[in-house]
């Protein structure tokens, strides 16, 4: 289908963006890469009157390492993340995850900030951000504030963003010494949204796993940090017994909504499979 009629502006500064969002309220929508928004407009899932293209705002793109933090600007594309040596070195979890984000032509255009703001429960970055305990930088008319990823995702496509606010960056702590990352997902076709996925990050020493952060995607209305599974594996080697103990916690911990193709039981089974594989791979 074709999108409904709308107007389009491409302001050159954050101030102008905030003015436009103030003036037009919920009749305006922010446009970044457009890889989700334009698809939903073509499907006529929403009918905004004005698109505010933020890709002309300087300073919102790029990856920078300073001190103990990797900062990813909101307009950084999936492609830039995929090909960044800094991401490969400092955030191996994200480097693995990005290969599963959509398809090449979509990765060339879609942005980090768009994915965070959209908060699709099956998206890769939100789960990675939760696993790695990242912080998002939000900016609005009133100034800048920081919100932890673990508090940012509130519900299905619901975030801590206020009306008129933008995501301007994500700040990820550098992976600590001895930490390992594994990102796994199952999708119907490579690049499609995951049926279920797992972003796993843990300290591994002498084959034993500790401080595991296991964030599932596609397993609820937001990314889900499986704290009971992490507790079950704490200090243990991922042998068959330890893995089974961790897997056994998932039925209670994951809300696990059925989707168009997979029942709740199927998805729970797949989550257990991924957890087993990830724990094995972490310690390998």
């Amino acid at each position: 289908m074709k999108a409904p009629e709308f107007s389009y502006v491409k302001p050159g500064s954050l101030g102008e963006v905030f003015d436009l969002l103030d003036r037009h309220g919920d009749r305006a929508r922010v446009l970044a890469g457009g890889q989700s928004l334009l698809a939903s407009l073509n499907l006529r899932l929403s009918e905004p009157e004005l698109l505010v293209d933020i890709t002309g705002v300087p300073g919102l793109s790029g990856i920078a390492v300073s001190g103990q933090t990797v900062r990813i600007g909101a307009l950084t594309t999936h492609r830039q993340i995929e090909t960044s040596a800094q991401i490969a070195r400092h955030l191996p979890l994200l480097a693995q995850a990005v290969r599963n984000v959509a398809h090449a032509a979509i990765r060339n255009v879609g942005t980090f900030g768009g994915s965070i703001a959209l908060a699709d429960p099956a998206a890769e970055y939100p789960a990675c951000a939760v696993a790695l305990d990242a912080t998002f930088v939000l900016a609005g008319r009133a100034g800048e504030r920081r919100v932890k990823a673990r508090e940012f995702f509130r519900g299905l496509y619901e975030t801590a963003l206020n009306p008129g606010e933008l995501v301007t960056a994500g700040e990820f702590p550098l992976a600590g010494a001895g930490y390992q990352s594994v990102f796994l997902e199952l999708a119907r076709r490579h690049g499609d949204y995951a049926i279920v996925g797992l972003a796993a990050h843990a300290l591994v020493a002498g084959g034993r796993i500790s401080d595991a952060r296991l964030a599932f995607l596609g397993a609820g209305s937001t990314p889900v940090l499986a704290v009971r599974a992490a507790a079950a594996i704490e200090g243990r080697q991922p042998d068959a017994q330890a893995i089974a103990a961790a897997q056994a916690t998932l039925a209670e911990e994951l809300e696990m909504l059925a989707d168009l193709y997979s029942s709740r039981a199927t998805k729970l089974h797949l989550a257990r499979v991924l957890l087993g594989r990830a724990l094995g791979a972490l310690a390998a």
Binding site: M1, K2, A3, P4, E5, F6, S7, Y8, V9, L31, G34, Q35, L38, A39, S40, L41, N42, L43, L50, L51, D53, T55, R79, R99, A102, H103, A104, A105, I106, N108, V109, R189, H190, G191
Partner: protein, 161 residues
């Protein structure tokens, strides 16, 4: 605010300026305004890849980019790549391998394939499949397409494998 905008793009090397509706996506602009019907519209929500074109040297979904977003940018379509000879070897390999039947997916396939061939000359068969996963083909069953890409990769690296 205006629902149409004066927009200038360089398409296959030629600069064109038009006043166009903001909501018009790039594929419709190319097809309806410029008569370049090589980029097809299949699903119009990003899933099938039939609309794939190049903007500033990178493949994009023509159905997920507004023509006004491409203002000031360089657009290449299958017509341009075909006329310039840039993908003559790839087109030849598609013929030889029967990598097209109805041809609906083919312009998008060729655009995606050329991006991989030119950026990752050492791509493995698995990497080819991963890169091409965003393009649906309802006819060929894909293997012939992957075969064609493998052949071109090898010959561009210099000689058969």
């Amino acid at each position: 605010m205006d629902k149409t905008l004066l927009t200038t793009l360089t398409v296959n090397g030629k600069t064109v300026t038009r006043r166009i509706p903001a909501r018009q996506h790039l594929s419709d602009f190319l097809r309806d305004e410029l008569g370049l019907t090589g980029a097809h519209t299949g699903c119009e929500h990003g899933v099938c890849g039939a609309c794939t074109v190049r903007v500033d040297g990178m493949t994009v979904r023509g159905c997920l980019m507004l023509a006004v977003q491409a203002n000031g940018r360089k657009v290449d379509t299958i017509e341009g790549l075909s006329d310039s000879g840039e993908i003559a070897d790839l087109q030849g390999a598609f013929h030889r391998h029967n990598a097209l039947q109805c041809g609906f997916c083919t312009p998008g396939m060729l655009m995606s394939a050329q991006e991989l061939l030119s950026s990752r000359p050492d791509a493995t068969r698995d990497e080819i499949r991963a890169h091409m996963a965003g393009n649906y083909c309802r006819c060929t069953g894909y293997h012939a397409i992957v075969d064609a890409l493998e052949e071109v990769l090898a010959s561009r690296r210099g000689g058969p494998k």
